[in-house]
């Protein structure tokens, strides 16, 4: 159950015994994990296990109620997502950080708008931004009609693609993806998994949350499993096969009968 792989470098992100309470609700009761450069850590677990809450503490959206949080070995306490972005942690949230009434382009560049001209007449060249957006979306397999369309009118999958393309475009030291592929079609999913692979090759750390064991196994280097707010364990790819992983992800629930009934295809 323990993490057998001894790290030679300090991990980019390391959390120890993180606790998070929402009023009387205990969402995380002591979770530890770490991710180093050039590896893809898959965060797995049942619904409500606390995966999103954990990555929200990493990206500065919520403040942990207790525990240690180290970036490059140094303890940090983010007071806003901006701090996390500045520290090189880019996140694609499950409940997307998108503003439905605003256009795809404006959402794409939100918070990091490129500016031209001289102070105080600096402006954003939205024509250029539109072109970039269209191009980046195309790369991920989405041919958007019009970058000025409101994000709220995009389909669920298209919206997800905007969020992913944005995180990838702006680069970072660590990329966190919370169920990025859940709303995606086959082609888009392949693109995203390929991206994750590329990003890892470039030496970034990736935290990848998914419920699809195949997706996880395809790109993950290590797997950390959460259950009811606690870490169940961390495994390197070589230590575990796809079926064991599937069982652990379900929190040890008896799946065999179900799975068999439906022909083991889930």
């Amino acid at each position: 159950m323990a993490d057998n792989k001894v790290e030679t470098t300090t991990p980019v992100i390391e959390v120890k015994n993180i606790v998070k309470h929402y009023g009387s609700v205990i969402a995380l009761s002591g979770v530890s994990m770490q991710v180093s450069s050039g590896e893809v850590l898959c965060l797995l677990g049942d619904n409500g296990a606390g995966k999103s809450t954990l990555i929200k503490t990493l990206s500065g959206v919520v403040r942990p109620s207790g525990g240690d949080f180290l970036v490059n070995g140094k303890p940090v306490a983010f007071s806003s997502p901006r701090d996390a972005l500045d520290a090189g942690i880019a996140t694609v949230y499950q409940d997307l950080a998108m503003i439905p009434l605003m256009s795809v382009t404006r959402n794409f560049f939100m918070g990091r708008e490129p500016r031209r001209g001289i102070r105080p007449f600096r402006y954003v060249d939205f024509k250029h931004c539109n072109a970039v957006t269209r191009e980046e979306m195309q790369k991920i397999g989405i041919d958007i009609r019009d970058p000025n369309q409101a994000v709220g009118t995009l389909s669920g999958g298209e919206r997800q693609c905007v969020a992913i393309a944005r995180a990838v475009y702006f680069g970072a030291k660590v990329l966190i993806l919370d169920e990025p592929t859940s709303a995606l079609g086959v082609a888009q999913t392949s693109m995203v998994l390929k991206y994750i692979h590329q990003v890892q090759q470039k030496g970034l750390g990736v935290i990848f949350i998914t419920h699809n064991v195949r997706h996880a196994y395809a790109v993950g280097s290590r797997f950390t499993i959460l259950n009811r707010g606690k870490t169940l364990g961390t495994f390197a790819k070589g230590e575990i096969n796809i079926d064991e992983l599937q069982n652990l992800m379900a929190g040890g629930k008896e799946l065999q009968t179900l799975s068999n009934e439906l022909g083991g295809t889930i």
């Binding site: 950080a97 503003i99 605003m102 939100m110 708008e113 954003v124 409101a150």
Partner: protein
């Protein structure tokens, strides 16, 4: 204007999933052009019912003077509304700034430029306080600025009585200010030589003594137009504008994308207060006095104008140009009745009906043009 730009880059290949639309449809999609439709309706109505003098040059200027003062407030209010907040203390802030400005000039004998700076700084500070309370406490801005509506109005009364020794009107501002280019930037009319020249050549109406009936464009109108242009540019073409739409559309999403939500909101509150101070300075210099009732219910009118102009009360959507036309519609309707033969007892019925009609028409046109839903 909306965050969704309409002037798309022409893309290489047309997408088969997009219907072709005409230029007109394209233009009418802009929410502020809906407000123009409302304006057209109102103008048409008065054209049929009102005295012709309403549409003379001097009639138009008569309407534009109050409309521009309201409009300056309305544009600021609509920026704030796009940013997802309200400021109900605008009207009281006009009175309060008027007091500060008047007292600085008369009681403290400061020169005009210092008085203006003091007034602006104080207003910005009060606005920032409003904003900080809203942000820190996470209370709705409605209730926080409402408290300031009362507090500032009350402080104005107390301050005026102190400054005048018992009256609710502070006078004698004209005497201490004198004349000068700086005063000209905030009061009176601009382009006087042009209008004189036009009158001499009988291009505009003049009195029997040769003085033109309209001696120039009130400077408040120039401020109004200038602010509308700048606000539109900021909203549509700058990073700040993007952030304003974002914090109003979904503050959490904006924060998660790295937008400094608190800074943007505080800035908007300060800006709104400064707009109120500007209106105070203009009216005080124009009237030569200030009193405890200045700006009464202006917050209300400013919000009305912004809403007529298509801004959403819930934030995230709206335009400065819309507020511009909204203020003109409101000014036109409220002054216009005087030019008609209707019994003035019906004034409020009329005002209400025209507002409703203008917005309905605006809405109808927009829906017609943009297709179903």
């Amino acid at each position: 204007m909306t965050p969704i730009e309409q002037n798309t880059v022409v893309t290489a290949k047309a997408d088969e999933r997009i219907k072709q639309v005409g230029f007109l449809t394209h233009m009418m999609r802009r929410p502020e052009l809906g407000a123009v439709a409302g304006l057209v309706l109102v103008v048409a109505f008065f054209f049929l019912t009102a005295d012709r003098s309403m549409f003379s040059l001097s009639g138009v200027m008569t309407i534009m003077a109050p409309a521009s003062q309201l409009g300056i407030l309305a544009i600021a209010a609509s920026l704030l509304m796009i940013g997802g907040e309200f400021d109900l203390s605008i009207g009281s802030m006009v009175a309060f700034s008027g007091l500060i400005f008047g007292a600085a000039l008369t009681n403290f004998g400061q020169p005009l430029w210092i008085s203006i700076i003091i007034t602006m700084l104080l207003a910005a500070a009060m606005g920032a306080v409003n904003g900080q309370i809203v942000i820190r406490t996470r209370l709705p801005s409605f209730i926080v600025t409402l408290a300031f509506l009362f507090i500032l109005r009350g402080l104005t009364l107390v301050g005026l009585k102190w400054a005048t020794g018992g009256s609710t009107q502070l006078r004698g501002i004209e005497e201490v200010v004198g004349d000068g280019p700086l005063k000209g930037a905030f009061s009176g009319v601009a382009f006087q030589p042009l209008f004189n020249w036009l009158a001499q050549h009988d291009l505009i109406e003049k009195f029997d003594n040769g003085v033109p009936k309209v001696t120039g464009v009130p400077v408040s109108v120039l401020w109004f137009i200038g602010i509308a242009v700048v606000a539109t540019w900021v909203l549509l073409r700058t990073r700040t504008g993007n952030w304003i739409f974002a914090v109003g559309g979904d503050p959490n999403a904006a924060r998660n994308s790295g937008v400094p939500v608190d800074r943007v909101k505080t800035g908007l509150f300060a800006l709104t207060a400064c707009a109120a101070a500007l209106v105070a300075i203009i009216t005080v210099l124009d009237a030569g006095s200030t009193d405890a009732r200045r700006g009464f219910q202006k917050e209300f009118e400013a919000i009305i104008a912004a809403v007529i102009g298509g801004s959403l009360l819930t934030g995230g959507y709206g335009s400065a140009i819309g507020a511009f036309f909204g203020a003109i519609i409101f000014g036109l309707v409220s002054i216009g009745l005087t030019y008609t033969q209707f019994d003035s007892d019906w004034f409020q019925v009329f005002l209400g009906s025209m507002l409703l009609l203008a917005v309905l028409f605006n809405n109808f046109i927009r829906r017609k043009v943009t297709g179903e839903r």
